[in-house]
């Protein structure tokens, strides 16, 4: 059999033949071929991505690579399906162990998972390269140094004092403004008018006081109800909101990027005249490190007449480009961390699971029943959406619908054990139950929280929702859904498919 496959190495041919003779269910899944060829392709792609000239400071070409990877994945999936669909262990009435369906599902999942990995290879390598080129600490230190040095060099054109804001705390804010505010009405100029000192403070209610105090860089309490809040001007010329995610490197807790107030304290407040030449040289060295003007043409158009002080400084040091480049490095570095990484892994997992379930269901049902199942799913989705829109259904009711559908499909699938003939309705019920059952725990948790939030909306003092625990619970629900599916595959699903497919036709 293998003599006609010149691309298959000898050892793989022998292994393939061994599986054919001894493990027909494993052999027919072709996962071993996907692992070998997919692994080789991914390794080659990773190598190309590693050696390909690419500067982490430039904007990422990942979207193009992802598009390319998706096309390759679709081709690979098609080839795999062509091979997979040649042999079906489940429609030959052979000697199949109860765990065979579970094993096959896992093998399908591995094969699809490897294929679905292809679009992620280049973005991952890009991230690795960026992390190798620039450490988190290095970026933080560079950003801090650049900001410090600019403040030193541009001290004369920067504000030297903190902004002040006096607030008067009241229990309840008046309905109309009786005291001046920033956006007071314009009045006509009166040359004969004399200046009258008016108290300048802002009214705030007691509830917002803690937030205002913690939001301020510094504060002074004048009396029980009056406070002066201090806030520094903007001294951070180079910043990337993404650098705030650099808090750990290995086991080391990293310093933070200087805030405006940090820069005020370090440079402005007790200004010490630096050696300007040395500072300027150091600054340009740092700016050069992140400058990649040639490959990143600026898009920022401005008229010098309209520039304020900070913008003039940015223009002087080409900081728009520097900022963008630091952002590019940071986004490459952070692509696989924390929420980003979790999102990509989830995306990969659900794409893999979805395709695997479709292939699994197709393998176990007749072609007609499979496509009727998909059609039923589409029609039910449309009808449910129309119903929900017409009756203005809440989010929680959508979860109820989904859970009701899962229960309904489970009920229909049970008819396979009672029927004397292979019924299409029972087949559709089984297929849709298999496709949806993994989402049951997630639906339950989502339903609980959406109900809670809906109830809280009607309360004046609603109990706080622990969102950290909610997300933890949702993660457990995802895990439970997968486990539930695996357990059902080894028990109920394998039995119901075995029974249903073997029934005689009408």
């Amino acid at each position: 059999m293998s003599s006609k496959r010149p691309l298959v190495p000898r050892f793989l041919r022998r292994f393939d033949h061994y599986l054919l003779l001894n493990k027909p269910d494993v052999w027919s899944a072709r996962t071993h071929l996907v692992i070998y060829f997919g692994g080789l392709f991914i390794a080659a792609l990773a190598l190309v991505s590693f050696v390909m000239p690419d500067d982490p400071r430039s904007s990422s070409p990942a979207p193009y690579w992802i598009g390319y990877g998706v096309v390759i994945s679709i081709l690979a999936l098609t080839v795999w399906l062509i091979y997979l669909l040649r042999f079906n262990v489940f429609k030959r009435y052979g000697h199949i162990t109860p765990l065979s369906r579970l094993t096959t599902f896992i093998l399908y999942f591995i094969a699809v998972g490897i294929i679905a990995l292809i679009p992620m290879v280049m973005p991952y390598v890009e991230s690795v390269r960026a992390n190798k080129a620039y450490s988190d600490l290095e970026i933080i230190n560079d950003v801090n140094s650049i900001n410090t040095k600019i403040c030193q060099l541009e001290y004369d054109s920067l504000p030297h004092k903190l902004r002040t804001d006096t607030i008067l705390v009241v229990n309840q804010l008046p309905q109309h403004r009786s005291l001046p505010d920033e956006d007071e009405e314009e009045v006509e100029y009166d040359a004969g008018a004399t200046y009258k000192a008016r108290p300048r403070y802002r009214l705030v209610d007691t509830a917002s006081l803690p937030g205002r105090i913690t939001g301020a860089d510094s504060s002074i309490r004048l009396n029980d109800s009056m406070y002066v809040l201090y806030a520094s001007y903007d001294y951070t010329f180079v910043s990337s909101y993404q650098t705030s995610s650099f808090y750990m490197e290995g086991h080391r807790v990293l310093p933070e990027v200087y805030s405006n107030y940090d820069l005020y304290k370090k440079v402005i407040r007790d200004f010490d005249h630096p050696n300007r030449r040395a500072v300027r040289n150091e600054l340009y060295k740092l700016l050069d490190k992140y400058n990649l003007e040639a490959t990143t043409p600026g898009w920022y158009e401005y008229d010098e007449q309209d520039l304020n002080g900070a913008e003039q400084i940015s223009q002087k040091y080409n900081l728009y480009t520097i900022n963008r480049n630091i952002d590019n490095v940071s986004s490459r570095k952070l692509r696989w961390r924390d929420e980003n990484g979790a999102f990509i892994i989830r995306l990969w997992y659900y794409i893999t699971l979805g395709i695997t379930l479709l292939v699994f269901v197709y393998r176990h049902s007749t072609r007609k029943t499979f496509f009727l199942s998909l059609l039923t799913a589409v029609i039910l989705s449309i009808l449910t959406s129309l119903f929900a829109a017409y009756f203005n259904q809440r989010e929680s009711s959508m979860y109820v619908w989904l859970m009701a559908y899962i229960a309904l499909f489970f009920g229909i699938s049970l008819f396979a054990f009672r029927n004397k003939v292979r019924s299409g309705v029972a087949g559709i019920g089984i297929n849709l139950f298999v496709l949806l059952v993994a989402s049951l725990p997630l639906c339950m948790v989502s339903y609980y929280y959406s109900r809670l939030e809906e109830k809280n909306r009607n309360l004046i003092n609603p109990p706080p929702i622990d969102y950290a625990w909610k997300y933890q619970l949702l993660w457990y629900a995802e895990l439970a859904g997968s486990l539930l599916l695996l357990i059902l595959l080894a028990t109920y699903i394998q039995r119901v498919y075995r029974k249903w497919y073997a029934l005689p036709e009408e």
């Binding site: 059999m1 027909p24 027919s28 669909l85 042999f87 073997a502 005689p504």
Partner: protein
């Protein structure tokens, strides 16, 4: 055992090497000796290279010596005979009516035992396929019962594992022929070394070795049928049901397949029951233990009916005309029917031998003769 060895020896001495090869393989399989079976397969493979390709040509000395060596090996095995036939399937009054269309299969009862070959004959559209599909568990029957004696509390899956059904239009398969055979054998629990051996055996036994690396598109419809039989046999079913297996085969292949089926059914090691439908009445009747004639959904006749027919019937082909034939016999002694190809002579007074003798004595030239008194052909 010894009878079968003598049969092989006789075939070899009369240069019927193809038959000798097939019987040698069967016998080697029945011994259960793996090394002997391997030896037989090796010897069988030399058949195409060493034995004369034309019928009746002398095979080389080496081929005959190897055959003798194998036969000597087979002689060392104890005498084993076929076990008593065991019922495999007992169908009582099964009937089927389609929801669409007006055809219905009327209640039919039949039984299949191990080692037996049953034939189902009838004109097109009279219910043969419906009957076979009902028996194979492919189609739900409306009334009656089907009992599978070899199974305890069988579910539908077990029934389909127990009964193999080969439809007239063989479903397309993909990949190489040999892969499909290995796959089917492995699925039936024939694993590892045994799998390789059994696939080699089946390829040789059904003369498919040279097609092992071909795909569906590269095979003729006749070889596809043979392949399907090989694939199904590797699954070791107890009952094999074939719908029109001869439809795509040439006359030689039909004869070979039917005799092969008969031999395989009567295997000592794995006897099975076979039920097949066909339009080739004479060929089927030659090998079938029982033939069921189906017309308009009714089973009109079975060849197991012991009562002698009231009339004898022969069919002949002759250059003589109807008048010449009628002049041979007296008025009322015989009826002559002509279907444009051959004459059917029916007589309640004379036996087939008398009819034939009388025709020859009157100088009627006969190019074809068949006694169909006990054949289902008389109902067509």
């Amino acid at each position: 055992m010894h009878e079968r060895i003598e049969e092989i020896q006789s075939s070899l001495s009369h240069r019927d090497y193809s038959l000798a090869k097939r019987r040698m393989l069967d016998l080697s399989l029945d011994t259960g000796d793996t090394s002997l079976l391997k030896e037989a397969i090796r010897w069988s493979k030399t058949y195409h290279t060493q034995a004369g390709t034309g019928t009746g040509e002398e095979a080389p000395e080496a081929f005959r010596q190897a055959a003798e060596g194998l036969l000597n090996g087979l002689r060392n095995y104890p005498q084993t005979g076929n076990a008593a036939p065991q019922p495999l399937l007992i169908a009582n009054d099964i009937s089927k009516k389609y929801s669409k269309g007006n055809f219905s299969l009327k209640p039919i009862s039949l039984q299949v035992t191990t080692g037996s070959v049953g034939g189902v004959v009838g004109e097109n559209g009279n219910g043969k396929t419906t009957l076979l599909r009902c028996l194979a568990g492919q189609l739900a029957h409306d009334t009656g019962t089907i009992q599978f004696s070899g199974l305890r509390q069988p579910d539908d899956y077990q029934v389909k594992n127990h009964v193999a059904f080969i439809p007239q239009r063989i479903p397309r398969w993909y990949g190489f022929l040999q892969d499909n055979l290995h796959f089917s054998a492995a699925l039936s629990g024939v694993r590892g070394e045994e799998n390789s051996l059994m696939v080699s055996f089946m390829l040789e036994r059904l003369n498919l070795s040279q097609y092992a690396h071909l795909t569906w598109n590269q095979l003729s419809s006749g070889y596809r049928t043979r392949f399907e039989i090989a694939r199904v046999l590797l699954q070791r079913p107890s009952l094999l049901i074939l719908d029109e297996p001869l439809a795509n085969l040439d006359i030689n292949a039909q004869q070979t397949l039917l005799t092969d089926l008969r031999y395989l059914a009567k295997s000592v090691r794995h006897p099975m029951g076979i039920l097949l439908s066909s339009q080739q009445l004479h060929e089927v009747e030659k090998i079938a233990d029982i033939v069921y004639f189906i017309k308009e959904g009714h089973c009109l006749f079975t060849t197991s009916d012991t009562a002698a027919p009231d009339t004898c019937m022969i069919e002949i082909e002759t250059t003589a005309g109807r008048e010449a034939l009628q002049q041979v016999f007296g008025e009322g002694e015989m009826q002559v029917h002509y279907n444009g190809s051959y004459y059917t002579l029916t007589s309640s007074a004379l036996s087939p031998q008398h009819l034939l003798t009388a025709l020859l004595q009157k100088g009627i030239s006969i190019t074809y003769f068949r006694d169909i008194t006990r054949s289902t052909k008389r109902f067509f």
